[in-house]
């Protein structure tokens, strides 16, 4: 005869069974990888592209370590708190242990902590130095370069071309990432004997920059250096060019996302401007030939940095799973720490001391419209270099 206790017990089993079955099924059948992307909110324009890039990579690679891959989209809406909750749910309800992607550093840092505490693996595209610095952890890996590398591989080759460009003025986003770029820039300028003659900070909410640009013009710099990211880079550059700053000042954008920003700006604005970037589709490497071929075939577009970032994190995860030959987390971490593979920028290696992917960063200059070979041929690559802070100086202790 049914009593209250039996009914409660049956209900508890009923509630728990789907989650348990789902978890068991997920573990046996496929490798589920959680993808943290912002598909709404302020960073939706970034999240959507990263999401598409990852999905295309999943379709292409299909399996890893002998098991099919399953993409689990986690829309964090640009909110680090929500990203953490989604990660916790994915770990608890689906037993997911592999995570990738982010749309900003705050999300990545929050998720990295959560994944590490639950014993998973996380590969992301965060820009903040802390990711492979003071806040690094054993379970987290980063694909793009840190701000130190971006500044060094942009400013030093630029100065080789223009040794007389001694006076630098900066417009900087007043947030962790912008400050990191500025701090590294000041160090490099000091080392090469150039002068930092002024800086204008702008906030994350600024959209009108003409006041900052007027201040920059008044300082009469040789170089205007833009140290921010995303749509704010586009807005500052557009307004600086409209104020005629290209006439007698070189403009350097240390951190650009490349093609998508160039399309937003148009060739006339990009012409003659120097950009630092993590990726450019025109670079001839085996990994990039594969990537551009697949993206063009499936999406009929030229890959941008954001699409590539989604692809790259997926590729690194797949390579590590294949190398480990299992989904055992310590084995996958070990495989990642010694991983070397043909990535989108050429031969990419993971540094075991801080879990930074060692890869090229590009200095490029905008072409005149008349010299563009096709509608996406906005820039010429001037240099492709690797410059990473020595592991003992990153502050990372694994």
């Amino acid at each position: 005869m049914l009593d209250r206790r039996k009914i409660l017990a049956a209900a508890a089993v009923g509630i728990a069974t789907p989650a348990l079955l789902r978890r068991a099924w997920a573990q046996q059948d496929a490798i589920e990888i959680g993808s943290l992307v912002s598909l709404s909110g302020t960073f939706a324009n970034i999240g959507e592209q990263v999401d598409i890039g990852s999905k295309v990579a999943f379709e292409h690679f299909k399996s890893a370590a002998g098991k099919p891959l399953r993409y689990v989209q986690l829309d964090d809406q640009g909110d680090p708190g929500r990203a953490v909750r989604l990660t916790q749910d994915a770990i608890r309800d689906r037993g997911i242990r592999f995570f990738m992607n982010c749309t900003n550093s705050a999300i990545a840092l929050a998720v990295a902590k959560e994944v590490a505490s639950s014993g998973g693996v996380y590969i992301n595209q965060a820009g903040a130095d802390e990711m492979t610095g003071s806040l690094c952890n054993k379970n987290t890996f980063r694909w793009p370069v840190a701000t130190y590398s971006a500044v060094n591989t942009t400013v030093r080759p630029f100065m080789k071309q223009f040794p007389d460009a001694k006076k630098w003025y900066t417009i900087t986003g007043q947030y962790v990432f912008g400050d990191s770029l500025l701090r590294n820039l000041k160090d490099v300028l000091g080392e090469i004997g150039a002068q930092h003659i002024g800086n204008s900070y702008h906030s994350l909410s600024d959209r009108e920059y003409s006041g900052f640009i007027t201040a920059a013009i008044a300082a009469q710099p040789d170089v205007l250096c833009i140290c921010n990211f995303g749509s704010q880079t586009v807005d500052v550059l557009r307004q600086a060019v409209s104020f005629g700053m290209k006439r007698n000042t070189k403009i350097v954008v240390v951190w650009s996302t490349g093609l998508d920003q160039f399309q937003s700006l148009g060739p006339d604005i990009c012409d003659g401007v120097y950009f630092g970037a993590n990726y450019w589709h025109g670079v001839d490497t085996p990994g990039n030939r594969l990537l551009t071929g697949v993206i063009k075939e499936k999406l009929k577009v030229t890959p941008s940095y954001l699409l590539t970032a989604g692809w790259a994190c997926t590729q690194a995860m797949v390579e590590a799973l294949n190398k480990a030959g299992s989904t055992d987390v310590p084995a996958v971490i070990k495989a990642l720490e010694t991983l070397s593979y043909e990535g989108p920028t050429g031969l990419e290696k993971v540094r075991p001391e801080d879990h930074q992917v060692l890869k090229d960063y590009y200095l490029m200059v905008g072409k005149p419209k008349s010299k563009m070979r096709d509608k996406d041929d906005f820039v010429e690559v001037i240099s492709a270099e690797k410059a990473f802070l020595a592991p003992e100086k990153t502050g990372c202790k694994l």
């Binding site: 302020t42 939706a44 324009n45 959507e48 592209q49 007043q174 800086n199 204008s200 900070y201 702008h202 906030s203 909410s205 600024d206 959209r207 009108e208 920059y209 003409s210 006041g211 900052f212 007027t214 201040a215 013009i217 008044a218 749509s231 586009v234 807005d235 557009r238 307004q239 409209s242 104020f243 005629g244 006439r247 998508d260 399309q263 937003s264 700006l265 148009g266 006339d268 604005i269």
Partner: protein
Amino acid sequence: MSAQVLTFGALNGVGIGMIYFILSVGLTMIFGLMQFVNFAHGAFYMVSAYAAFAVAQWTGSVLPALLISPLLAAIFALVSERVLLQRTYNLPHESQILITFALAILAQESMTMIFGTLGKNVPVPEVFSGVVILGGFVYPSYRLFVVGVAAAVAVSMWVAIERTRFGAVVRAAAENPEMVGLLGFDSRKVFMAAFAFGGALAGLAGALAAPLRGVEPLMGREALAIAFVVVILGGLGSFSGALLAALLIGITQSLMSMIWPGGAHLMIYGVMTVILAFRPAGLMGRA
């Protein structure tokens, strides 16, 4: 910092202020005449900017959009008013805010579906692509053109509202719609025309702004924030107040960008707080 640099900063601030004025004048007009809180104003602006992008792609220049975009925005506003918003005139302001906010989100997501989430470039018209140099002060020709258009709009609106029979009817309808009705005028049509005109002004602002800041789905939200600051600071419904407030905010923002760059945006709200503390109805608002 030299006096000359500060003077340049102030002149640039006048330019920013005139851009803010054209952005907010339609909003204050609709509120002044109809006591209607229109959170869809930013959406009219954003949709028009996308229309400007489409026109520029089609014709090779954004200049035709200065006529087409306001017209489209006026039609969008008119249809919204007839189909939806006229039913909310007698509802509390909270309901109007919710409904127009929903309309704005619909417009934003529609543009995202059509054009995608990535920003679009609208080139500055060839004829205004250079800069004007006055002494050591450099100013983009296109911004000067926008300032000129804004000034022309300000003068035209003042003449239309203060010096024409239509303006007199509009002002009377705002004060006492029943009395205007008794005199043989249809205040419903007056409001409809005013709403369409407010939309057209937002449309003109969107088309003018497209080459200045590009086009992307969230631009309406940003514009709405600054437009509300201007409208509240100037005094709800005050045309001259909007002009004064826009100039004050533009100059403050430009000068603070030089003196304390990190606080330039913050000081917009700082100025608003201080002025509202002493004049709760705004600079030219009626208590």
